[in-house]
Amino acid sequence: MALSEAHRDSKTARPLVYRQSIWTRATHWIWAISLFFLLLSGLQIFNAHSTLYIGKQSGFGFDNSVLSMGAVRTPQGLEGRTTILGYQFDTTGVFGVSGTSENPQARGFPAALTIPSYRDLATGRVVHFFFAWVLVATLFVWLVASLVNGHLRRDLRPTGRDLAQLPRDVADHARLRFHHTGRYNVLQKLTYCIVFFVLFPLIVLTGLTMSPGMDAAWPWLLDVFGGRQTARTIHFVTMTLLVLFFLVHIIMVFAAGPINELRSMITGWYRTDPETKGDAGS
């Protein structure tokens, strides 16, 4: 009796709202898996030539590199050197040289961060392109579903009122004070819009620009991105931005309540704050 009373109490006080449609949930987890494989197989591919350049070609007789991970032989043994925009860092053990001290390996990213862990560009490419198609197909399905079911218009599009609340929302986030209203706050909306409409298109198109076949079919790709090697660099930078998004995303899930957040992305149901009941129901 008391239990059911309490249960009803909590239910009315903190109602569950149906927040995520099956399209959002399914595509979310397919992307999570795809991005995991894409990242690690991508680092395998990067390791085949661990230098990034700006321009149409790679400078061997001149220098147009912006990032490079290499190994140098010193009296102390193999040491990893990472050069970013001319600044060099000793990154032994992580970038350039990794592995055990008895058996150091010269490789860009360490074995723990590549698929397969050992050097195998051919398999890395097979894995990368497979999940690249999965990512693109899922994006397409998500875009159509979100246009049809109103997810884009209703949940993701920042309104004028949202933007007016931006300073307050930034301040709230800085204090780790979250409002569980069942709707995205403006920072969430802006972040998801950047991921979907800037980062994903950018990483797909720069990926295509690295294909000599695509460059013949769509030569404008080379002009848009400033050459194949610039496209490769943008692809890499976009990857690091997506990794940054992932880290913040996970931190926010933990800060905002991992059980509730995970439930909403698995079952669709999200428990809202009591004071925002009316708002959540809308």
Binding site: T51, K56, S117, Y118, A122, V126, P212, G213, A216, R228
Partner: protein, 261 residues
């Protein structure tokens, strides 16, 4: 199915052999092989698709050609840079005066060409970007007769579907003898206007590190599709019986036959 797994294992085994064998833990390998097998099944279908769609839909689209000013460095050599077979060394000692390019297989009139004969054919010069599968690019000027000119002279038989390029460079000897580099392309790429038998690089005779006396340029695909030190061009209906049957030295070691991606 079990046959596929074994083949894939051989691939991975070959790729991972040597230095990396210490790193290859049994655990990861046992998890990874089923995934790789499933993927390779998907990808062989995809490869068939790309054989049809990529070549057909890209049609005669040309690879980007660049200005003279974009030639800012020598063409970076990669892979074999100095073949050591007795036959090749003898040719090289005589500055390739005795070189003959044989055109054989499913053709009406098999022929062979000296370097001088190739140089007297109508030629095409193009400044293009060489994209290595490793990720780097290099812009250089290539000169030579279009492959289509040669194919028109020998006349392909109707059964011919692929052109195979056989090379002088031995990539290392295995249990079944030496593994000479070879490559193949379909007839769309073979007849593409930018597919040339390049004997010239940056206004000079093609140097040894870049494939002297002749290498093939297939400009819409990656570097491993540009065989160097070519001695024979063979028209075939299938490359299943050549080497390990995947259509090229690197294809036999896990890389895609369609190298336009």
């Amino acid at each position: 199915m079990s046959k596929t797994i074994l083949t894939r294992r051989k691939f991975l085994g070959a790729g991972a052999a040597g230095a990396s064998s210490l790193v290859l833990g049994g655990c990861e390998a046992s998890i990874f092989w089923p995934i790789a097998t499933a993927l390779s099944a998907t990808c062989s279908r995809k490869q068939m698709m790309s054989r049809i769609t990529c070549s057909a839909s890209f049609g005669d689209a040309l690879a980007r050609e660049y200005a003279e000013s974009e030639i800012r460095q020598g063409q970076r050599p990669n892979g074999s840079t100095d073949p050591q077979s007795a036959e090749y060394l003898a040719l090289k000692a005589n500055d390739f005066a005795d070189y003959r390019l044989s055109v054989t297989g499913l053709v009406e009139t098999p022929k062979s060409y000296s370097l001088a004969e190739l140089r007297n054919m109508p030629s095409r010069t193009q400044i293009t970007r060489h994209d290595c599968v490793e990720g780097w690019s290099c812009i250089a000027k290539w000169t030579g007769p279009p492959l289509s000119v040669v194919l028109d002279e020998v006349k392909l038989k109707p059964a011919a579907r692929y052109i195979v390029f056989h090379c002088y460079d031995n990539m290392g000897s295995g249990a079944s003898g030496p593994n000479f580099y070879y490559e193949s392309c379909d007839l769309v790429d073979a007849r593409h206007p930018q597919t040339i038998l390049a004997y010239g690089l940056n206004n000079e005779a093609l140097p040894v590190p870049n494939g002297a006396p002749m290498r093939v340029r297939i400009e819409r695909q990656l570097g491993y599709k540009q065989p160097k030190y070519v001695h024979t061009i063979e028209a075939v209906s299938s490359f299943a019986e050549i080497a390990r049957g995947k259509g090229g030295y690197w294809e036999d070691r896990g890389y895609e036959w369609y190298a336009g991606i």
